[in-house]
Amino acid sequence: MDFATLLQVLDSTIRLATPLLLACLAGLFSERAGIFDIGLEGKMLAAAFMSAAVAAITGDVWMGLLAGIAASMALSIIHGLASITFRGNQLISGVAINFLAAGMTVLIAQDWFSQGGRTPSLIGNGRFEPITLPGADALVGFPVLGPIYAELISGHSILVYVGFAMVPITWWLLYRTRFGLRLRAVGEAPEAVDTAGISVVGLRYVAVGICGILCGIAGAYLATALQAGFVKDMTAGRGFIALAALIFAKWRPWYALYACLLFGLLQAVALRYQNIDLGAFTVPVQFMDALPYILTVVILAGFVGKAIPPRAGGEPYVKER
């Protein structure tokens, strides 16, 4: 493999890792506050559809982004109602949200556009265009570092930079602010937070809300930046890979970045090479597809470092009387 190919694979890694990263951080906020969320997939899908639909109608991708976030937030509110207010089963609620999004997106797409459950292709201002960072064109001739800067770091859409910036922001919010301390506490020992006179319900709704915003950006990125328009089931399990990355990262922001880059790399390699010939044997493409899930099971099994979820995760909080 030569340098140019390597750069292309890594470039594609960054593009494919971005939606995973945004969804993974979304899940991180929610699960750190004690609300399990297996509905990341559905929220991304709903956001992907609404952003593409509104961008196609208005021709303005920023309106699309807002609509995508709104769609994702609506599902977040349902999840919040079910799991916080009515103390229902958070996992079942997540399953319902995934199906709701899978069905409603196609239903509405068919009603609005009559194109078999897809939106029209986005053109011009309906898409997030790649941004060329300052000096990228001038530095491209510079050996090694020039192409890395021009190809790998520059030339992505704004949402990619937002996604990567979210990692330090999330870290700072969680570990350096009072809000973050309370958020983490509410996922570990909600009764302690309650005793301190802070609203458990309020904090959890805020966390679920942040999760909705980030999933919305992730979905909008899929439909308006990575691809040009919405197609049926376009998230294709990315929400679950993000969930896997979250466990792989043991619910920590910087590790989430590494896990998403790793899973993005796997996707990029599987996209580029079908079967990988290692001489003695070939690695089938199906193995590459399954690798994120296999790795997650291994991590969950605790053979390579144990993944311990937030202690109060999945449990509705009932005030003692």
Partner: protein, 363 residues
């Protein structure tokens, strides 16, 4: 003291949830500019007014009975088996291997053999998540989700690289031999004068599914193992104190659950396609969740809920054929049923409980 009488818990709560889901579904249909009453009539006509419609309804219901029972058995042990889809996929592999490589003399011996193989493969696929939950505390919901994706990759690999006949393009096995052909309802119930269930895929597997409802009922409510499963589900610490091994119950309940999910493949693979295709499960593993929730994890409830979803599936196909309503409407209805009977259960239950308490106080 119970807040509500038993009948209200078993019948009223699911019924109100169902009505809520139906009202919202009707609003969705109005939202996309169609008439919900006309749509419902079309569904009834297509699914229940002709014997061929019933043939499809019962065919889908057969799938949902198996997956619904699978989720129910796990629910009784307070385990959420989301992996029915993957277990059914791998169960299909078991059916295909049994049908292709063992020379069966006739269909009922083949049915017994293939059922055993399907259950074994499905149970095997549930074993690893079960073991990891029991021994290592890995969350079974997450591991079974991961195993769904791994199952899809395994099946894809096996179909493309190993079982695909030479020269064939689509990822599927060769056709099963004639001896493994299961009698369809058409062959069983048609007389010389009138053809019944014409062209529909319902087959003898339906009776196997009904039989499994009975078997699961006996298992859960009439055996020691069933008692242990329910005790473990009600309170892990109490079960432990009574000498019930959590590891054993977790693994056994999941093996039974996986086996039931795997048996679904008999219907789709041996009964209908007569070869193993890539997407044989068609999401039935997930519908099992809705069926189990609506049926309150009771085999009779599962049977009724599976019939309802069979009707919705066949009716939905009719809608997609004759109107502008896509098949995905069924996915929305399924989501609403899961939401109301599962996650928002308390929304219905809390006001009802208050109502019953108020009535008791006044009398």
């Amino acid at each position: 003291m119970d807040k509500m009488p038993g009948w209200a818990d078993a019948v009223l709560v699911p019924l109100i949830s169902l009505v809520l889901a139906a009202i919202l579904s009707a609003l969705v249909i109005i939202g996309i500019g169609e008439d919900p009453i006309a749509a419902f009539q079309l569904m009834v006509e297509g699914a229940l007014m002709r014997s061929s419609g019933w043939g499809y309804t019962l065919y889908y219901a057969t799938n949902f009975i198996f997956t619904g029972l699978a989720v129910s058995v796990a629910f009784h042990a307070r385990l959420f088996n989301i992996g029915g889809e993957g277990q059914a996929m791998i169960g299909g592999l078991g059916v295909a291997l049994a049908c292709l490589y063992i020379p069966w003399p006739n269909w009922y011996v083949a049915l017994i053999g293939a059922t055993a193989s399907a259950a074994l493969f499905g149970a095997m696929w549930a074993f690893i998540p079960a073991y990891l939950q029991a021994k290592r505390g890995s969350h079974i919901v997450i591991t079974t989700i991961m195993f769904n994706f791994i199952a899809a990759a395994v099946l894809n690999y096996v179909l493309v690289n190993i079982l695909r006949p030479q020269g064939a393009m689509d990822p599927a096995t060769a056709r099963f031999p004639e001896a493994t052909h299961l009698p369809t309802f058409q062959e069983m119930f048609s007389t010389a004068e009138t053809a019944m269930f014409r062209g529909s895929p319902a087959n003898v597997t339906f009776f196997l599914a009904v039989l499994m409802c009975l078997v699961v009922w006996v298992l859960i409510w009439r055996t020691k193992l069933g008692y242990e499963i329910r005790a473990f589900g009600a309170s892990e610490s109490a079960a432990k104190y009574a000498g019930i091994s959590p590891v054993k119950i977790t693994v056994v309940a999941m093996l039974i659950s996986g086996g039931l999910a795997g048996m679904m493949a008999i219907n789709t693979t041996m009964g209908e396609a007569e070869r193993l295709i890539m997407n044989a499960t068609e999401g039935a593993g997930f519908i099992g969740i809705a069926v189990a929730l609506m049926g309150r994890s009771h085999p009779l409830g599962v049977l009724l809920a599976a019939l309802l979803f069979g009707f919705l599936y066949q009716g939905g196909a009719e809608l997609a054929l004759w109107t502008n309503i896509p098949r995905e409407l069924i996915v929305v209805i399924q989501a609403l049923v899961i939401l109301f009977t599962g996650a928002l259960d308390n929304m219905v239950r809390m006001p009802l409980e208050k109502l019953f308490l108020a009535r008791r106080r006044s009398s």
